[in-house]
């Protein structure tokens, strides 16, 4: 039986349907799993994505020919039945389920299985072949519950308020920033966000996600407020003149990479909060098991490790080379790669 998804120079391609999933080169028809810029690129002729991702996609890509599908809604294109299912990664993120000729394939995009107040929870989808990401595909990556991380962030912020220092928390502007905003205790002090974060906040609020009040730095009239503020910005801003106005601030980075001490020290952060929008090792293995798939194709991350491990578990495993996670945007997420091949 012919494969429903194959690798092409443009991206992952569905031959019977004649469309791509998260292609990295311009194509006529693209199914987009989520709006992170290594997955949702500009220049495609036609976009198909989840209804919940419309706002963020347009915020990032402007006016595009976008067809939106509700989660679970089924369409048939060139004889391939396609539906989107929540991936729990960021607002609007979706797994792509394809059915054709008696086979079911699911492409996960990026996903996490732990609950997140800012997006629909990951939904296990039964399939014959599962295409999974592997960003944190090593047993050293195991996450703590969100509540513990948010308590740590609140504690750090509270201590900084007492010490009269701003708390600069760097993170990815889309997804991670909103998850942090929805999780911290806004009674501790004012929340200031970078210009890269606020447009995404707006898109989240329009989509019905509740976020605390956020201010741009130019809206803060009383300089003393800056010393009590939680400042949420992308890591690139932390190295820019934009940071000077906060003076002697405590800096932190929220990312799954912060699990490793070396990654945190090399970044020069005071604090690293281990908060990821990707599944940890137990999450990846649980998600793969729940699909019931006998064949698993591993994309970006710890591909070779996952392939070997899954083969040892008796699954038919292989890897796809993709261009996710390797561009400047992902470098922004992970300023210091702890290991070269773990992208």
């Amino acid at each position: 039986m012919a494969d429903l998804v194959v690798q092409r120079p443009e991206g992952l391609y569905c031959p019977p349907g004649d469309f791509y999933i998260d292609p990295w080169r311009p194509v006529a028809r693209a199914v987009i799993t989520h709006a992170h810029s290594d997955h949702a690129r500009a220049g495609h002729g036609h976009y198909l994505a989840s209804q919940q991702s419309q706002g963020v996609l347009r915020t990032r890509l402007g006016e595009i020919a976008l067809q939106a599908l509700a989660y679970g809604e089924r369409i048939v294109h060139n004889g391939v039945a396609l539906s989107l299912h929540p991936a729990g990664h960021v607002l609007g993120s979706a797994q792509v389920r394809l059915e054709h000729g008696g086979q079911v394939w699911v492409a996960s995009g990026d996903y996490k299985v732990a609950p997140d107040r800012t997006c629909a929870p990951f939904e296990p989808v039964k399939c014959d072949v599962f295409i999974t990401e592997s960003t944190f595909g090593l047993p050293i990556y195991r996450w703590c519950p969100d509540d513990e991380i948010f308590a740590d962030i609140d504690d750090w912020w509270g201590r900084n308020v007492l010490a009269g220092r701003a708390s600069v928390l760097t993170c990815y502007s889309f997804g991670k920033a909103q998850r942090i905003l929805s999780g911290v205790d806004p009674s501790i002090g004012p929340i200031v966000v970078h210009g890269a974060v606020e447009p995404l906040n707006r898109a989240y609020r329009v989509a019905g996600v509740e976020l605390p009040e956020t201010r741009m730095v130019t809206d803060v009239k009383d300089r003393a407020d800056l010393k009590r503020a939680l400042v949420v910005c992308p890591p690139s801003a932390a190295a820019s003149p934009w940071m000077r106005r906060f003076g002697d601030a405590s800096t932190a980075f929220a990312s799954g990479w912060m699990q490793l001490r070396g990654a945190r020290r090399r970044g020069g952060w005071d604090r690293g909060f281990v908060l990821s929008d990707h599944a940890d090792w137990p999450g990846l293995m649980g998600a793969i098991g729940a699909t019931g798939a006998r064949r698993v194709i591993v994309t970006h991350g710890s591909g070779p490790v996952m392939v070997r491990y899954l083969a040892e578990q008796g699954l038919q495993a292989q890897a796809f080379d993709t261009e996710y996670g390797g561009d400047g945007v992902e470098a922004d997420v992970q300023p210091e790669a702890p290991s070269g091949d773990a992208a």
Binding site: P139, I140, R142, G268, S302, V305
Partner: protein
Amino acid sequence: MKRFAALFAELDATTSTNAKVDALQRYFGQAPAADAAWAVYFLAGGKPRQVVPTSHLAILACEVAGIAPWLFDECYQAVGDLAETIAHVLPRDSQPGDVGLAV
């Protein structure tokens, strides 16, 4: 041991010398004398003579974590520190004990 671990976490969590000095003052104000003496020894870079070979530690960690040695090696490649690798693969303790530093 927990108090010393908390101190280490606190020292590790800041790049400010003042904050580190504060944390040290708090620790030495509270720690039992015997623990405090060992803490000085460790913080000054002291290392007791090796009791268990590191290769043995790695094998034990694989057994307790239930992972194959090749997978442990992959983890070590990513972490770059044996003790940290072991800490990250071991099951999280459900009944944490508290043993003094001077035991």
